[in-house]
């Protein structure tokens, strides 16, 4: 009686599947509860990974709801990489597909925020753009290509995403307003920080990330948001160290 890996795996995430025959106790009795140790280890460790990875979603849902949804998610989407730090990339879409959560329309974007914070935490180190590097002829400036720092992430939301994050993480923060908000994630040193972006700045940063010049990115942002204010966007990006240095030599 052999037990293949596929047979062992089959019953791991399915509590109703029978324990494979051929797994035994010391006396040769069927493994029963002994097999359940592996079942429990796998489910608990994956659910814990999600709870660590999605603190905002966990806060919004409460521990019981979050645990129930996590169990469902880990069965439907077991990890496909050994790097557990990035587990849960499909969690936002998964949450968006749960009918009973339809009244919490902002939940998928909150999951995207949690995901972006974690990606930023593990992103490559970089040297931030020094504002002094931009002191040049305005004509040259328009042709400059500025790249977001490796740890920079931008989220566009039709929900008050920044307010939701702040209200659920900061004591005494104001209640979320009914507005659409774009959020910049930046990592000044080691800890990623969400920052509320001025209107159009997300489109501007996106254009820069796609390799457009400052002039082209400004045009793209103006097409997105008619009253886009370049100086406000640039000042937010510089203050939060969201752009990479122009220096070619990036050795630390």
């Amino acid at each position: 009686m052999t037990v293949t890996e596929a047979q062992f795996r089959e019953a791991l995430l399915d509590p109703d599947a029978p324990v494979p025959a051929g797994l035994v106790s010391a006396t040769g009795a069927p493994a029963g509860a002994r097999y359940s140790v592996y079942r429990n280890n796998v489910t608990v460790s994956l659910c814990q990974a999600l709870a660590t990875a999605f603190p905002l979603v966990a806060k919004l849902l409460g521990p019981e709801n979050f645990a129930g949804l996590s169990k469902l998610y880990v069965r439907q989407h077991p990890p496909t990489s050994q790097l557990m730090m990035f587990y849960g990339t499909e969690f936002p879409e998964f949450l968006g597909g749960i009918a009973s959560l339809a009244h919490l329309g902002y939940l998928p974007d909150c999951a995207r925020l949690d995901l972006a914070l974690r990606q930023s935490y593990h992103a490559a180190d970089g040297v931030a753009l020094d504002p002094a590097e931009l002191q040049m002829d305005p004509a040259l400036l328009a042709g400059l290509r500025l790249a977001p720092a490796p740890a920079t992430r931008v989220l566009r939301s039709s929900w008050p995403l920044f307010d939701l994050w702040r209200y659920n993480t900061e004591a005494g923060a104001p209640k979320p307003r009914a507005v659409a908000q774009d959020v910049l994630i930046t990592r000044p040193e080691f800890d990623p920080v969400p920052v509320l972006l001025p209107a159009g700045a997300a489109a501007w940063l996106d254009a820069l990330a796609r390799g457009m010049t400052l002039g082209e990115a400004n045009d793209a942002a103006l097409r997105d948001t008619a009253d886009f204010d370049l100086s406000a966007a640039l000042s937010t990006a510089l203050q939060t160290k969201s752009l990479s240095t122009l220096k070619k030599d990036k050795t630390l």
């Binding site: 890996e5 035994v24 493994a31 029963g32 097999y35 592996y38 460790s45 050994q82 790097l83 730090m85």
Partner: protein
């Protein structure tokens, strides 16, 4: 970056602890008897940020053991080449004093189960695991240590004892062994054999490192003891006694205290390391 190559070409015969980021500052200030640290390889495969910065700083002071949990060496499939490449990158820049993995599997097809799952001990699995170890050692360019698992059940089809299986793997591949004393105690209790007999049958000459850690106690379907390898508690006295018994036979070895869940404040873990130190260096 400083060149640390050759600083620690092997782990010292002294206590180490499993590194937890919350202990970073305490470790830098007050390591107690701790001479080396073990990290889980997969937690340091991001591109940058605090984890890698801390690891660079720690590696200037402590010898580092890289302990993988994701290679699935005991699995049916060959080790994932992408994951091997990530390990090669990590061990390439870090130049650790040791690399170890488990006699277990964790990947099936495209899925990673995030647990150390058991395999039967047969002639066929022996050949397969030996080939996987060969592949890992040649990819990383170093000798690896293979760890004995904690077992909750057995395979009816097994034809080898675990100690013979590990001894034969070491002989065929030249790999070393990581002897987890807590795992021996757990498996022996769960599968009804003597932990001392297991140790006495173990090829201690091949051991490059030992582990001790805490476990939880549960019951099986018939009310018999079922110990769970939780790494969430202090090491129990019988495991310390088994470590003493093993070291008396093997001579001094690097001994790691593992505490991965419900991680205590630093002084508690440091005191566990001190206990290991006392066993390694008995008072005259």
């Amino acid at each position: 970056m400083l060149d640390t190559s050759g600083r620690y070409d092997h782990l010292p015969d002294a206590p180490g602890v499993g590194y937890k980021p919350q202990h970073f500052t305490d470790l830098m200030r007050d390591p107690g008897p701790v001479a080396w640290l073990e990290i889980h390889a997969e937690n340091y495969m991001g591109d940058g940020g605090r984890p890698l910065a801390q690891l660079r700083a720690l590696s200037e002071i402590f010898a580092i053991s890289v302990h993988g949990v994701g290679l699935s060496i005991g699995g049916e499939a060959r080790p994932d080449p992408d994951h091997l490449a990530r390990l090669r990158h990590l061990t390439g820049w870090l130049k650790p004093s040791s690399f170890s993995e488990h006699l277990a599997w964790s990947t099936h097809g495209a899925e990673f189960m995030n647990d150390l799952l058991p395999l039967p001990y047969t002639g066929a699995t022996l050949t397969r695991v030996a080939a996987h170890i060969d592949e890992v050692q040649s990819a990383l360019g170093c000798r690896m240590l293979l760890e004995n698992p904690s077992s909750y059940l057995a395979f009816a089809e097994s034809t080898w004892s675990e100690t013979d299986f590990l001894k034969e793997l070491a002989k065929r591949t030249g790999c070393g062994l990581l002897l987890d004393i807590n795992n021996v105690f757990i498996s022996a209790t769960n599968l009804g054999y003597s932990p001392r007999e297991y140790i006495d049958a173990f090829p201690l000459d091949a051991v490059g490192e030992m582990h001790v850690g805490g476990h939880d106690e549960d019951k099986d379907d018939d009310g018999g003891p079922l110990l769970i390898d939780s790494h969430a508690k202090p090491v129990v006295d019988p495991v310390w006694a088994l470590l003493r018994h093993t070291l008396a036979a093997s001579g001094p070895k690097p001994v790691l205290v593992e505490w991965d869940n419900d991680v205590p404040d630093w002084p508690v873990l440091r005191d566990e390391a001190r206990r290991a130190s006392d066993i390694l260096q008995p008072a005259e």
